[in-house]
Symmetry: C2
């Protein structure tokens, strides 16, 4: 159009780096990060990030390189989320539950040039480097992050240390901005619930837009105080590391999560916002009264990763938390939906309200559209609350693709949509509700059994702390539901009692035919590792007609 | 990067159209627009916008065409902000204070193909069309928007009517999305404070990003209730027409602004957010007690367009409003800065607090950077709170350029920055403070006099309602300050008293040498028309040494 131009005056590639540059001015003296007695302001945080970028540049890191980190929720994680992109590189945040063998696989696959390792995970990182070395693979430079609360010991060091790296950087380093906002900013390997890890690539544009969407979805005002109870390494902390920066919030870091630590920190720092998987919710609602403290004000809590049982949401709200339920995948930068509350639900009975809140909801602002589709015909299925299909996403906060895996990317994006692998329905009000992972569905006598539905029923039993349901081979039915149950401390209930409890509340074919009592294996992000349970269920052997079931 | 692709699954051009599509699902049954007894839900609003787009398409409107509107804050304005872009066209919102001659100029310059005119402004639009017709120019199709509160009279009509247009559209019309998010969405002619109007072109991308920035800057939560006291035709309602849609808010429309109407609507609809120029603030704080009503809760009020006097902010807060001060220009999509409050200011005396709030502040999230530069050397000036220069902007929410005026665009974007024409300083804390428009500065004996500073002093006088200061030719000093003052009802004060009041509080050379009592001429957006006053000041003649001044 005549008279209009694209100029540096009116076009700046979108990147979360802008958030930090702005907050270092607007919120210069406000606290950015707290970890015990360690505190920084936004001005200091930006300076440290710039120096980190400068040091990485001196170490030979440049555009498109990968820098990895193996650390819990500590201040260095905040700094790496900016320092690494500021030199044009990708940040790869590794899951701290991985062992050396898996870390070695991921370092090799990503081509990591530098790995930062928290002291608690140093051996894992060293072990991974040894494996790479033995195999003749290129070994990344290892940087140790010592405990920030302990004075560094001078003298001979076994590895380069984090503060030395920051110190060698220059404050006047010229930060590299992406030339194209679709350039990658990070890579997140999908967690252990899938057998072959895939490197999910995020872009500067997607990270920018998902950060703002996350801020709005969390109803965050200017300068919130965010307590980190979701892992920073998971989906870049659901993009909240960048999001909290955008609005000049304060990051409260915690190395270890305990109910006492959570309540103490909420109270001490007047926390306003939190996020976490249902395991954290369980930790909070089951905390002994002696460890609980009254909340200092409204605390918004966003939960995701797995559908929260209705009664858990209900109990959290009794404690005073405002619960938001979100859903997404690593491939959607973490949260992609929000179960937006409707005022007309206020008059529903509280149990019904909790059921409404347990639905996955509607696309947030970064996602353009969410549908339930037939995975074979690719057709959109009716929004009738009944017809089950695969949940698909489309929008700017969907990943760039799987690193070095064009086949998997092509498969995931068939027909111009991202196929989540999650099965669900769309209700007439446009809200989606998950029924299962496609591989978690149990097919019994030709009928689909939603493992989530069986789990939800088990959760309503007063003795059940956690439950996970998978398929067990069955001579007659093909598969039947097998429940793994973790009871509350001091509770007692028999398998037969639980089965009959389910049969009273579900169609008979859906009730579990076998129950196993045990602690549930979980990923570090709080997801139950169903593939472990499926192996266990198979090992139990094929059920004969003489099994427990009386169908 | 290997394995990553750009696909419809992960890339969608940014456009405010996405906001409406999403809100029609997420906030389907919530009220979108209220105008007296007229009410729509978001589902209905989207349906009406799609039909409007469909009808425009039937009328021959397509990508790149311009559709204009001449209307106050009525529901059709909300619909046109989506319906016009949904057919790929640009919306041109005309200032309702323009006369037929000026409207004709703008219709011709923009190449408007359809003009929608509210019944109150029908004659202006008809007059403009007649002028075009007489000159042999192409005459746009005129669509009348009758009063929505009055039942339409059937029978012979003089012009096509708005509801007929909506009715002829189809609900299943395929909405046109921009192929490139930088494509234009609207054109805003700059208001009458400049002598030659320029058509400022906004893009879909800029509109999207400024909407989110405006939502965050207003600290808007999900589903706010927004009372329209800023004109929708001005900078597309500071992008809040799109912003309120993004978060499913309710637009309360008012045709005429009166203190009583404002207080009544705040109370009746439980308004949470408002915006407006200082004239609206004056209307509110000077309302007779009989017309005031207590606020139903916190009401955030964002003010801009002209620097608000400190005592006005102070009085608004006494009434219970939470005041935010923002600054920007038509070229920055309206607000581009926000005077973000710092907690350490809480302990300042209230007058000092109000002074802090009157500063223009820091760039909002859509603007990348704001600086004060020397307009000759283009160098950035020190942030010392003293060195005056021109305020410059850079970021995604700066216009695409001036329509059909590449020379003006080039001039405005020199050196990769947008030059605002406003003079100001940057304080050491990074906050900018305006001192004057470059053409409003008064140069007296070689010293710069900031008209804003003189006005601020006049405002502190208890009898002064409004004041505007311009240069008057002076035999000895070159120029001296001439103040135009509007006194409060029933107040009496002489010119000599006011001058000596200023001399007691300002350096003597800055005090006005002449005072004229009168109503101030204003643009419809509440800006004082200083060019009118400058002409008046010149007409007063050159002051001789024997003038009032006793320097």
């Amino acid at each position: 159009m005549e008279g209009t131009i694209k100029s540096p005056a009116n076009y700046v590639p979108l990147t979360p780096i802008s958030f930090l540059d702005r907050s270092a001015v607007v919120y210069a003296d406000r606290i950015s990060v707290v970890y015990g007695s360690v505190k920084y302001t936004w001005r200091q945080t930006r300076d440290r990030c710039v120096r980190l970028a400068s040091a990485l540049s001196q170490l030979g890191i440049s555009t498109g390189d990968v820098v990895s980190v193996l650390a819990p929720n500590i201040p260095a994680m905040v700094e790496l989320h900016f320092g690494v992109p500021m030199v044009g590189a990708l940040l790869c945040t590794l899951n701290i539950r991985h062992d050396s063998a898996l870390v070695a696989v991921l370092l090799r696959h990503s081509g990591t040039k530098v790995i930062f390792a928290d002291h608690q995970f140093l051996q894992i990182a060293q072990g991974a480097c040894e494996i790479l070395s033995k195999n003749g693979d290129k070994v990344p430079l290892l940087v140790l992050i010592p405990e920030p609360l302990v004075q560094s010991v001078s003298g001979k060091k076994n590895a380069m240390e984090y503060e030395d790296v920051v110190a060698m950087g220059k404050s006047d380093f010229e930060v590299k901005r992406p030339k194209d906002e679709c350039h990658p900013i990070s890579v997140n390997y999908t967690s252990g619930t899938t057998s072959s890890p895939k490197g999910v690539v995020y872009s500067h544009r997607g990270a920018y837009l998902n950060s703002l969407a996350a801020v709005l979805l969390n109803e965050m005002h200017s300068s919130p105080t965010f307590l980190w109870t979701n892992p920073m390494f998971h989906c870049n902390g659901w993009c909240l590391l960048w999001g909290v920066t955008a609005i000049g919030g304060t990051n409260i870091c915690l190395r270890n999560l305990t109910a006492k630590g959570i309540f103490d920190n909420i109270s001490q720092h007047k926390v306003t916002h939190m996020a976490g998987a249902p395991t954290i919710l369980n930790m909070i609602i089951n905390a002994p009264e002696s460890e609980q403290k009254p909340l200092p004000g409204k605390v918004s809590f966003i939960t995701g990763a797995a559908p929260p049982p209705a009664h858990v949401i209900y109990k959290m709200e009794e404690l005073g938390f405002s619960m938001f339920h979100s859903y997404g995948l690593t491939e959607t930068y973490g949260p992609g939906t929000i179960c937006t509350w409707k005022p007309e639900w206020d008059s529903l009975p509280r149990e019904e309200q909790a059921k409404m809140k347990a639905r996955q909801g509607v696309n947030h602002l970064g996602i353009e559209e969410i549908q339930v589709k037939d995975p074979v015909t690719l057709r959109t299925l009716p929004a009738d609350g009944v017809t089950m299909g695969e949940v698909v996403f489309r929008g700017n906060t969907v990943m760039n693709g799987y690193l070095k895996n064009p086949e998997a990317t092509k498969e995931a994006f068939k027909g111009g949509w991202f196929w989540s692998g999650d099965l669900g329905v769309k209700h007439p009000d446009g809200y989606i509700e998950l029924k299962d992972r496609s591989k978690d569905i149990i097919i019994s006598g030709g009928e689909n059994i939603s493992s989530i539905e069986v789990e939800s029923t088990l959760f309503t039993h007063p003795s059940v702390l956690e439950a996970a349901v998978v398929a067990r081979p069955d001579e007659y039915w093909g598969e039947t539901a097998c429940a793994f149950v973790n009871l509350k401390d001091g509770s007692k209930v028999s398998a037969e009692e639980l089965i009959s409890y389910c049969r009273d509340r579900l169609p008979h074919y859906m009730a579990p035919r076998s129950i196993v009592f045990m602690d549930l294996p979980k990923t570090s992000t709080g997801k139950v590792q169903k593939f472990v349970l499926r192996t266990k269920a198979k090992a139990l052997g094929c059920l004969s007609k003489k099994g427990v079931s009386k169908l």
